[in-house]
Symmetry: C2
DNA sequence: CCTTGCGTTCAAAACGTTTTGAACGCACAG
DNA sequence: CTGTGCGTTCAAAACGTTTTGAACGCAAGG
């Protein structure tokens, strides 16, 4: 294959590996996704293993993870006993999958913990000595700051997850500041 | 100290540890930040080490990292030879620091690599055989999808980083979809 | 029934990151 | 000048995660 195509392939695959790490996935997941994304035809596990020079076991496990995250889908080729995969090429769809199942849950849990804390502090206040009451109020301020912060995060996530099609540039610039 | 205050402290510190990991920092950085955030008075390195039951060396290194990220600042106490730290309690300021120095650079690099790829593909196209040309066009489509994706990310980051004060809820809900 | 070709699994190994703790340097007080 | 108390450093150890590769299961074809 031509040198420039290989170069583009390499940097894209490497870049998606980086991106995957950034999102808390493994490097290999990102590279597998990149390899599939740049292949018009579906690829088999062996082709992926050869292409990235990693073990078949690793490909098997990481591809299952990619499937669970909706980043790749299995393709049935008639007459073939091998499994073939293609990348989900709609990046916003991938984004929605990830934010929707992982990040939203994370934020939910955080908000739950924080509102429990507010509850605890308010309930306990009467039982506290003066000094402790002051500290409790201080805690309350901080915890409520965190709550406000996470609520904004929650709204932002809901917006992306609830969107259809791709977010466009103009839309994002229309975010306004208090 | 009262049980409920300890419970709130624990869960907040643990939660900020989680959050720190999520953002690619170490758990300890998040816990140190949380500990400082819930202390009306500045704390010394030894107090932090004792409070979290970690070594003094770790506190020293992680606090310097927190300082570099603008998440804590040193407080000079007259007559004291110890170093004291306080948390930067404006969470949006912390966010702006992190997004501004780390994430923006990351996105910049990605965009640079992608536009280099576009350039390479366009330059090389005339030299390619028919089959390769088709693949090059396929690559171009995919690379440009990635470009669009990262440009949205860049805009979102710019918006947050360039903002002053805290983003409010309404503002975020005003994001519109294509 | 056996063989072949495939995907899956998982224990062990490789690897990277984080934590520790002892050694060190520095500044101040006596 | 010396001792004390502090922060810093870094090599070694602990730890967690990822990768490998051999063993296995399973299905299809002979």
């Amino acid at each position: 294959m031509h040198k420039s195509l290989l170069a583009v392939n390499d940097s894209t695959v490497a870049g998606l590996g980086r991106l995957a790490r950034f999102f808390g996935f493994s490097d290999v997941m990102g590279r597998l996704y990149g390899t599939l994304l740049l292949n018009p035809e579906p690829l088999s596990l062996d082709e992926l293993a050869d292409g990235l020079e990693i073990s078949k076991g690793s490909v098997s496990m990481n591809m299952r993870a990619l499937e669970r995250w909706g980043m790749a889908k299995e393709i049935w080729m008639r007459g073939e006993r091998k499994k073939y995969y293609m990348a989900e090429s709609d990046l916003w769809q991938v984004m929605r999958n990830i934010l929707g199942s992982r990040e939203q849950r994370e934020v939910q849990v955080a908000l739950q913990v924080l509102s429990d804390s507010v509850e605890k502090l308010k309930t306990a206040e009467p039982d506290l000595c003066a000094e402790e009451q002051e500290l409790a109020r201080y805690y309350l301020d901080r915890v409520m700051d965190l709550q406000a912060f996470f609520k904004v995060a929650q709204m932002a996530l809901d917006t992306v997850v609830g969107s259809e099609g791709s977010l466009d540039f103009d839309a994002v610039t229309r975010i306004e500041i208090e």
